[in-house]
């Protein structure tokens, strides 16, 4: 029962963060300087999410089949493949490399 309390509190806090962003006046972000910051941050967050998903394993770095997925996706993007093909290339590369025995 105790764990239920923390589960529900985590859910409440998670939603509170999301909603908090919506309470910031939209006019603030329509300011060109703020939208520049927001745009830069989007690039930074996406780069960070890509890297975290590719090489982070908890609190350590791991070079495994996900690097193959990153490379395959990069190649697909160079050839202007549609988004779904890029995603499938990533999944296929990771699954294939693991089948070949590379973690």
């Amino acid at each position: 029962m105790n764990l239920w309390l923390w589960v529900l509190l985590a859910c409440l806090m998670g939603y509170a963060w999301k909603l908090l962003g919506y309470l910031v006046p939209a006019s603030l972000l329509r300011n060109p300087r703020m939208s520049r910051v927001a745009g830069t941050m989007t690039i930074g967050l996406l780069a960070s999410l890509t890297v975290v998903n590719a090489v982070a394993s908890g609190q350590s770095l791991a070079l495994d089949a996900r690097l193959g997925a990153l490379a395959a996706a990069g190649i697909a993007l160079c050839f202007r493949a549609p988004f779904l093909v890029v995603v499938l290339a990533g999944a296929g590369a990771a699954a294939g490399l693991r089948l070949l025995g590379w973690s």
């Binding site: 764990l3 309390l5 923390w6 589960v7 509190l9 985590a10 859910c11 806090m13 998670g14 939603y15 963060w17 999301k18 909603l19 962003g21 919506y22 910031v24 939209a26 603030l28 972000l29 329509r30 060109p32 939208s35 520049r36 910051v37 927001a38 745009g39 830069t40 941050m41 989007t42 690039i43 930074g44 967050l45 996406l46 780069a47 960070s48 999410l49 890509t50 890297v51 998903n53 590719a54 090489v55 982070a56 908890g58 609190q59 770095l61 089949a65 193959g68 997925a69 993007l77 988004f83 779904l84 890029v86 995603v87 499938l88 990533g90 999944a91 296929g92 590369a93 990771a94 693991r98």
Partner: protein, 253 residues
Amino acid sequence: MKLLQSPAVRVGLSISIATGLYGVSFGALSVTSGLDFWQTMALSLLLFSGGSQFAFIGVVAGGGSGVAAMGAATLLGMRNGIYGMQINALLQPRGWLRFASAHVTIDESTATSTGQTDPLEQKRGFWTAGLGIFALWNLFTAVGALAGAALGDPKQWGLDGAAVAAFLGLLWPRLKGREPVAIAVVCALATVLAVPFVPAGVPILVAAVVAVVAATIGWLSHGRSDEGMEPDVDPYTGHHPARSAHHPSGETA
């Protein structure tokens, strides 16, 4: 059928499938971490933020306390507040729609939306990815929690590779010109350097801070120089999502 012609809907559906299927992994790991079926479903239905959910069960699995699990999940959820600001400015949802859109504001729905330039496409992208992932994520959380070990490791299906590819695919169209590439590289490096030293999830916030600093330095230098005199400005405005970049000459007005 017409909707499937929309680029944002197609990206949204692709990312829904790629991300939603990964719910199997969350469901399976959650029940082996010691949460029961309904606690697992509560996290997917109510918290609905993959990183925070994995952080919560990760702490519980490691023998951590409930309050530590909640703390880790909450820390990781911070970035959704930043996304909320962006989506609110882009789509300006009204009334109850605002509460619904807050709930589906996550990495993928925000990235799908902000990757589009046309306001209608931004809206379509946000809701397709948000609702699509919500439906599939919860469905596959249930599958994972019920079937658990029988499905085997989701990594063997390359689902973690799909996530990597999806985020790179969302980043790619923004890398037009020198400045965005430099920002991406610096933030990626900051993330890699931060991973061993801070709790999981925090490296993403470190990258956000680095990006804000980079943008701030950017406008200070623009502010000092006269229009057209900036030494390191790239003419990428035409290729760039409208909200992501403003050509400095436009800022001086």
